[in-house]
């Protein structure tokens, strides 16, 4: 039975978001998400890139993506509170992760902060319309979390920039139209000085993409080589140093507000796991185990804490407070808790076989894949150790 729609989300305090935003999100998503894109559906199959692109473009047209971006740049000009309300509904369905996330979560906000008006007009709306994919060229073989060791070099030549170097762990490079590329104008001895960002078209001569196969069998990231790549000055995002400093401020907020659906999706995944086990009489016996029940309860408590962290962040930003490194709290807590859940789920689905119910077999496939992918969760977007360093240094302000 469909529950009545809420009178408003009071969980974030202050004014609830307009009823219509959440009602619209729920109704539209449930009416339009194809069965084959729902992880918990027997009709599920891995969506093609075109299908994912079309789905996300449709979400944007339905005012469910680009929520907080200005209308002048293709966004919907809504507040973070409305963004959160929509994210709760996105999290309540097991849909594929975004294939345009680098553009929407990273490149777009940075361009908005440091780009020229021409860059904003040229790049932002196509990102939301899913006409342009982006990749992130930050990490290098010798500079993972430590960008002071960055070597990719940009040299100015008569109004153009010549770029040489190598990037690695570049998600989505093979499909990307543009790369948000971080370079340095001086030498490695300059450390954090002289860093400069570019929006580089991926079809520029001299760029070579070499895919890397990951443990889930996909080739979703790559090495990217830049050999005498020449771009016009109009590809530069901000001035040296200034652009990167502004980008860091933007990234602090983005880390805290991207993928706010995660705790609600986490809860949804847990529900799917339990329903799938319950659908098979033999597997359902696991649910009578006190240890399993206790672990489910602990996960629910962690999910609740995670929801609280997300809602607190939105409240603080809505009140104009600075959140500093607090995005690290959410990222670290989610990634470690979700990774532990993936291990727990793998244990429960490991006894499901050909004789088991169809939904149980679907769950075995989904959670085995989730377990493998979860290895990355404590690595990407800053490892757990980087997040712990940030908490120690910027939140606890411990002596060095």
């Amino acid at each position: 039975m469909q529950r009545d729609l809420p009178p408003g989300d009071l969980s974030t305090g202050a004014l609830p978001p307009p009823h219509d935003t959440r009602r619209h999100a729920r109704d539209w998503l449930r009416a339009n998400l194809p069965d084959h894109m729902r992880t918990d559906s027997l009709a599920w199959r891995s969506p093609t890139l075109d299908e994912s692109r079309d789905w996300e473009a449709a979400m944007h047209r339905a005012a469910l993506a680009g929520m907080t971006w200005p209308q002048a740049y293709g966004g919907h000009g809504q507040s973070l509170r409305e963004h959160l309300a929509v994210n709760k509904e996105i999290g309540a369905l097991l849909m594929p992760e975004s294939v345009g996330s680098i553009g929407k979560e990273l490149a777009g906000p940075i361009i908005m902060a440091v780009g020229t008006e021409a860059q904003k007009q040229g790049f932002l709306a196509p990102i939301l319309r899913m006409e342009q994919f982006w990749c992130q060229g930050f990490s290098e073989p010798d500079a993972g979390s430590d960008l002071a060791r960055l070597r990719t070099k940009a040299v100015e030549e008569n109004g153009f920039w010549r770029i040489n170097g190598q990037k690695i762990w570049t998600s989505g490079a093979a499909k990307a139209h543009h790369c948000l590329l971080l370079t340095r104008t001086g030498t490695v001895a300059d450390k954090h000085r002289g860093l400069l960002m570019f929006a580089v078209p991926m079809d520029t001569p001299g760029i070579r993409v070499v895919p890397i196969k990951s443990i889930d069998g996909k080739e979703s990231f790559a090495e990217v080589f830049f050999d005498d790549v020449v771009v016009p000055d109009s590809a530069r995002l901000g001035a040296p140093d200034e652009g990167w400093s502004a980008a860091l401020r933007v990234l602090g907020i983005e880390r805290a507000t991207n993928r706010m659906y995660r705790p609600w999706r986490f809860e949804c995944e847990l529900g799917f796991l339990l329903r799938a086990l319950a659908s098979d009489p033999e597997q359902a016996r696991q649910l009578q185990d006190g240890g399993v029940q206790r672990r489910v309860g602990e996960l629910l408590a962690e999910i609740d804490g995670l929801k609280g962290l997300v809602e607190r962040t939105v409240n603080q930003l809505m009140q104009g407070d600075s959140i500093g490194a607090r995005g690290s709290l959410t990222k670290l807590f989610w990634s470690e808790s979700h990774q532990a859940f993936a291990g727990f789920a793998l244990g429960l689905v490991s006894q499901i076989g050909p004789q088991s119910s169809p939904l149980a077999r679907r769950a075995r496939q989904a959670f085995t894949q989730a377990y493998l992918f979860a290895r990355a969760e404590t690595i990407y977007a800053g490892t757990s150790e980087v997040q712990l360093d940030l908490i120690a240094q910027r939140i606890l302000q411990l002596p060095r």
Partner: protein, 333 residues
Amino acid sequence: MNATPFEDASAGLRPEEFAEAAEAAIADALNQAPEARLAVLGAAGLFGVCADEASGGLGLPLDFAVPVVQAAGRLRLRWALAEQIVLARHLPDPALCSALIEGRHSASIACQGPIGRAWVGHARHAGQAHWMLVRSTDETGSQSAVLLDLAHAPHQSDAALDPEEPLTWWDLSAAPVLARLDAARTEALWHDLEILLAATAHGAAEGALQAAVSHTGTRVQFDAPLSSRQAVRHWLARMKLYHEAGGAAIARALQRNEWGQARSGRTALALNLQHGAFIIEKAMHLHGGMGFTWELPLHRALRELRAIDAALGAGSLARGLGRDFIHQQTEAA
């Protein structure tokens, strides 16, 4: 009646700003002999923060009691403060509420053991209490509760966990009934108690975290403060992470859900018990040999938190949460 120091402080303050006033009152109580603390806490107005104004309380929402019990946890006040606050708010008899608010009587709550069983325990600091609330069922089979007078009830002390503040087991078979709470009042009381016990544990963890940060920031080994070492920094950061998540869960439990209903405090309580134990145990570890001594008061925080966990059934809270969610999901399927 003259305004209490707490009433003076409450004018125009936000809930989190109550912490300062509560901390001063609790610090004052801690400087008194144990038998004098009830009067000091009562005079400060701490027991009546959420109680009806007609009974002499401040009539404030539950949010305002959270920083009070959090301060009690942080300062390691050994008193069933959360229990007395919720009883002063939910008892049906204004005279009984007034007695609790003014500190003329003290009370605790047994989290397990229905009336009729010979021995009832799992009530925090019941050895100091005059009254005890015990779970019961009414004639329709609904959950209810009764407030019993402990004056002449036989009891035994159990010092296994805490020799200074032993757990007390009570034979309440002949204890006089002072008040009966119907199902609605019982449910409301239990909701508030879960949140305030979560905040108590949260405060205890906060005190331990502060102690660990302070100690490792000033204790120099190998020519540098301990907290300049990455291994130590990462433990402290993880303790901070778990503490923040616990606080966020409490804040969330205080807000109504998407359907306009009060949220259960069970998940916040489960999380704060789980994280609180981790934080306090790790704080003791980071103090080195000092962490194992009686002199360092962190063991008091750990005993207090473990007593709450034991009162609730040592892990049965999380198991119950899981069982209910499994039932909900399988019903939906």
